[in-house]
Assembly symmetry: C2
Homo-oligomer: 226 residues x 2
């Protein structure tokens, strides 16, 4: 029962503190996302977090510190999710179109529909110039690594699948671009695409990708005309 021996000295009252911290971070993310950095007020964040203003100043010295903490927190989460999705990239070529499309749907759900991802995207547009180092970091750790990782996955897949890819990095970038083709615009607003729309969009993207990079000869009805 006695936990004093287990808990290190600086972890004493962290149960309640941690809850507050999380609550503050969530509320702050919400308000920063709605109002931007300048438009967000500490009072609003405090109210939404169900916390007194002073508590925020106790945990995070000032507004900018809080802002940074929010960014860092969300970046960690999104990066983690991103790479857990990358781990589901198909290995074998059993049912290439289906499996790639399913992967595309997963990627889109976590990169475009996801709340955190939208937040980061928005923040990069708004405050990217104000905090260049932070977003340089995001860029290297997020999209930069994603592209390279996906390139490696395509390279692996090309061993067992009929893919004719010269430049794996380019193919990875184009795969992502095609995947996002239909969803980007609507994603800027609140409108989330339906599951069916995601499926259709992913299949269309993958079909085009495979037409461009698949090794099999294209089987269009026109062949008979040759």
């Amino acid at each position: 029962m006695k936990k004093s021996g287990l808990a290190s000295p600086d972890v004493r009252a962290q149960k309640g503190q941690l809850a507050k911290r999380v609550s503050i971070l969530e509320a702050a993310a919400d308000v920063f996302c709605r109002e931007g950095f300048s438009g967000a007020s500490i009072d609003e964040i405090a109210a939404e977090a169900g916390v007194s203003r002073q508590t925020i100043y106790n945990h995070y010295r000032e507004k900018e510190t809080l802002f940074m903490a929010v960014i860092q927190d969300i970046m960690d989460r999104t990066n983690g999710m991103l790479f857990s999705i990358l781990a589901t990239f198909p290995e074998k070529a059993d049912n290439l179109e289906e499996e790639l499309a399913a992967f595309a749907v997963r990627l889109n759900k976590s990169c475009i529909c996801n709340q955190d991802a939208k937040f980061i995207q928005k923040l990069i547009a708004t405050e990217g110039n104000r905090y260049p180092h932070l977003f340089q970091f995001w860029r290297e750790q997020g999209p930069g690594k994603t592209d390279r990782a996906l390139a490696a996955l395509f390279a692996r897949l090309a061993h067992s699948a009929p893919l004719d890819i010269d430049d794996f990095d380019l193919a990875a970038r184009q795969f992502i671009a095609l995947i996002k083709a239909d969803l980007q615009m609507g994603g800027l607003f609140g409108e989330a695409p339906s599951e069916a729309e995601l499926e259709v969009s992913a299949h269309q993207a993958v079909r085009t990708f495979l037409r461009a990079y698949g090794r099999e000869r294209r089987t269009s009805g026109l062949e008979a005309q040759h």
Copy 2:
């Protein structure tokens, strides 16, 4: 010499006034884009426009009116430019890859590198939720029309070019997505891609697009292996 007869009563001193208006709109666009709506201060805009604060309040009743005017102004300009670029879409298939790539470079220059386009893109991310009607309008008149127009252009091109396109709207969206694949991320920051980078990126996109939608059989070295 006498212009009083030509100038309508409410166009009297517009030469100077117009200059001020333009100057204010330019400065406001700059500051709004840098600082966001909340972060932008009228004083800063006035200083950058080389104009007194009161003059701004004379022309535009309040901050929000000025903001709307800036958006409207830039939307007009970007839409105009966009459709002037669309008019340069190739008609004949003489040198398909070259001509499409050149078109892609033009489109990218005016849609991604262009200052106004970046501004609109940023504003949609930041204030889109605050002014839904305005950006609904942009969306219908801008990207919505662009996609449909480009689809029609591909349909026309397909008459004389070896293109095998089922869904022209889809092809248009994917063309745009491929075109922007490499540039989107960097575009959020100040970094403008070099002319050479634009060329390379456009050629890669067009090559993939034509591999997916071109009617000619793909000529890869692997054919000998069949």
